[in-house]
């Protein structure tokens, strides 16, 4: 096991973590500000990927596709907020789960009706093909770009929330929604903007990841589960928590898949070690979540103290 391999796996873990961050940032923001559990977040990820693939296929440019995917997810998010989500803020979480689960079914079936049941073709843009040398390891340029995108979005989000007027309102809405409404802020518009922002982040993640994965109906659900794990670990409602949680989940999952079979191979035969190692690796992040919940029931960075 060489240093280069460990370094490559670490990069893979960070890249995976940053994509998870894009998903979980929107999810945690919506939960923190509006107190809403949105199961349909994965569907917005899917919409981003499908629109990106369709538009990139029609125009031949990945970048136009990326913008289209992002815009479509944001628009779909705003529309869903206005038509459905708005009626759910005063309901309890069970009603929200039920309604947003229904949205998953409707959106998945809708996408299947429009695009068909077969996966779409979406490829990496020409400028980001191939590998780049990082000293001891050759790494995929596109994955490196994904890391760059993830970091840029994280910084942008931090600036937005910490430095701008909109950010102040979002933070105020998080701590006391009656008070900020009483101060004359249009809380309905604010909620729509936050929901659309979360949707745009999910759509961006879907479009970016779609280029190296399968663009297919239902692609959002596995990521959604991981995103929930991330925000539970990080502390629901906290962007910083989402960042730390996403990186933890990304690195631990990747390293677990890589190292556990090797550890078992030292005392089991190869096939057995691979089977046991793979099975245990898939449980690892849930074990991590359980551990965090035992010692920090509100997550690592609880948003409301």
């Amino acid at each position: 096991m060489s240093l280069a391999l460990v370094l490559e796996q670490l990069l893979n873990g960070v890249q995976f973590g940053l994509m998870l961050f894009l998903m979980s940032a929107g999810l945690t923001l919506v939960f923190g500000v509006m107190g809403l559990i949105n199961l349909a977040h994965g569907s917005l990820y899917m919409i981003g990927a499908f629109l990106c693939a369709a538009v990139a296929g029609a125009t031949g440019s990945f970048w136009i596709g990326l913008v289209a995917g992002l815009a479509a997810a944001a628009a779909a998010g705003a529309l869903i907020e206005i038509i459905v989500i708005r009626r759910l803020y005063d309901r309890d979480h069970l009603d929200q789960v039920l309604a947003t689960f229904a949205l998953i079914l409707i959106l998945s079936e809708g996408v299947r009706m429009i695009f068909g049941p077969f996966p779409l073709y979406l490829n990496v843009p020409d400028a980001l093909r191939g590998t780049v040398s990082l000293g001891i390891v050759d790494y995929s340029l596109y994955r490196l770009a994904l890391i760059g995108f993830g970091v840029a979005v994280a910084v942008g989000l931090w600036v937005l929330i910490a430095k701008t007027r909109l950010g102040i309102r979002i933070r105020a809405g998080e701590s006391d929604r009656e008070m900020i409404a009483a101060l004359g802020v249009n809380i309905r518009a604010l909620y729509t903007i936050v929901f659309a922002l979360g949707a745009a982040l999910a759509g961006l993640a879907g479009a970016l990841v779609g280029a190296i994965q399968s663009v297919q109906v239902g692609m959002g659900e596995p990521v959604l589960i991981l995103a929930f794990v991330v925000i539970v670990i990080g502390g629901i409602g906290s962007i910083k928590g989402a960042m730390v949680g996403a990186l933890l989940v990304g690195v631990i999952d990747t390293m677990g898949r890589f190292l556990l079979p090797r550890i078992f191979a030292t005392f089991l035969d190869t096939s057995q070690a691979m089977g046991v190692g793979a099975a245990l690796a898939s449980m690892l992040i849930y074990l991590l979540m359980a551990l965090v919940l035992i010692f920090r029931p509100k997550g690592l960075f609880p948003a409301h103290g």
Partner: protein, 379 residues
């Protein structure tokens, strides 16, 4: 008057005979129509339906339900189809873990199960059953073909990888049974996994000269897309599933040149197959995958048996199924004693024809190949 009565009686008798022959056969199809595996189920369903449509008048009543690739859901649907729909035959399951959950209890209730895809080793060996027929293959078969062909290609140090479920373990076992070189590494991934960066890094570090993968459906698309971007350029050998027509358009040029083993190919030159491929293209506007060919064969097997026996007479119908008196699109078709096919395994190469990415036959791995698990079957 007397003669009129005789004629009337004769007519009634004749009608009841035709009625007996046209006794409705209820076929319950449980298949994957949503989620990442939907393309496979849609192709099995469309192939099956096409065979019925091409037959014109037929006694089959087809009931289709989506299992969403979830074993517990498949079990529920099977129970409902047997209890409420009074299904005579179940079919359609794509995934081996779902087949393992549904098939044993189904065949025990004196219902036929005809598998158009999954062929787990457990059901081919000790747990074989007179009511269980596999129209496609036993899971290991095509991977055995890939293993044999890897020898011919001169691969000596191969990295092998499959998802961690019954068909994945069968795949690696099948490949290893025939492959004579070394294994540079062996990995199980998760079912439905979408990111293969960790696996690709290990392939790179292993010093392998070639790769064998079994990653059906969306898993194959994700792997190939990421493999193409990884800078690794090792040759890949596989079975048909990872390079099947349901995913080739989404994989694109990255798949060109890959060798994969299959019992069927769209360019297979026999009359039944050519009319199947052109009818399928006309009906659905795409090239059929091997899953579609298997659905098509399954329906034709049922229709052939329906012409010989009533499904309510289970023993007679079983004998009719065993005769396999239908024209398979794969060419010659015969049952081994465990009711799995004995068939030729071809080697295909992924090529581009008229702007479409598809497969073409370039060789043969085995003639009259049968699975090894049959010897544990007592039939």
């Amino acid at each position: 008057m007397h003669s009129f009565r005789t004629t009337a009686l004769a007519m009634v008798a004749a009608t009841s005979v035709t009625l007996a022959q046209a006794e409705t056969i209820t076929v319950g199809m449980i298949t994957t129509l949503s989620g990442g595996g939907a393309g496979l189920g849609v192709d099995v369903r469309d192939g099956f339906q096409l065979a019925l449509d091409m037959a014109g008048e037929h006694p089959v009543k087809l009931v289709v339900e989506d299992d969403a690739q979830r074993p517990e859901l498949a079990v529920q649907i099977a129970e409902r189809m047997i209890q409420s729909e009074r299904a005579d035959i179940l079919t359609g399951i794509i995934w081996s873990n779902l087949a393992m959950a549904v098939v044993p209890s189904t065949v025990a209730q004196d219902i036929f199960y005809l598998s158009p895809n999954a062929g787990p080793s457990a059901l081919a060996g000790a747990n074989c059953h007179p009511n269980y027929f596999n129209v496609a293959w036993q899971n290991d078969m095509l991977h055995e073909g890939a293993g044999a062909y890897a020898n011919e290609l001169g691969y000596e140090n191969t990295f092998i990888m499959a998802p961690n479920y019954p068909a994945g373990t069968d795949a690696l076992a099948g490949f290893k049974r025939y492959f004579e070189g070394n294994l540079a590494g062996e990995l199980f991934t998760q079912v439905g996994q979408t990111d293969y960066a960790a696996e690709i890094a290990q392939i790179r570090a292993s010093g392998a000269d070639s790769i064998f993968i079994f990653l059906p459906g969306g898993m194959g698309i994700s792997f190939m897309r990421q493999y193409e971007q990884s800078g690794l350029d090792l040759p890949i050998v596989s079975a048909a599933f990872t390079f099947s027509q349901d995913i080739l358009p989404a994989v694109g040029a990255a798949a060109l040149g890959v060798f994969n083993a299959s019992q069927w190919s769209p360019d297979l030159d026999n009359e039944a197959n050519q009319s199947f491929v052109s009818a399928f293209r006309e009906a659905y506007g795409r090239i059929p995958s091997l899953y579609a060919s298997q659905g098509f064969d399954t329906a034709n097997l049922i229709l052939s048996a329906a012409g010989k026996a009533d499904v309510s007479d289970r023993d007679a119908f079983r004998e009719a199924l065993r005769e396999a008196d239908f024209t398979s699109v794969r060419g010659e078709f015969a049952w081994a004693p465990n009711q799995h096919p004995i068939q030729r395994v071809y080697i295909r190469e992924v090529v581009e024809v008229d702007g479409e990415i598809t497969n073409r036959i370039v060789g043969t791995a085995f003639e009259e190949h049968r699975d090894v698990h049959g010897e544990n079957c007592s039939m």
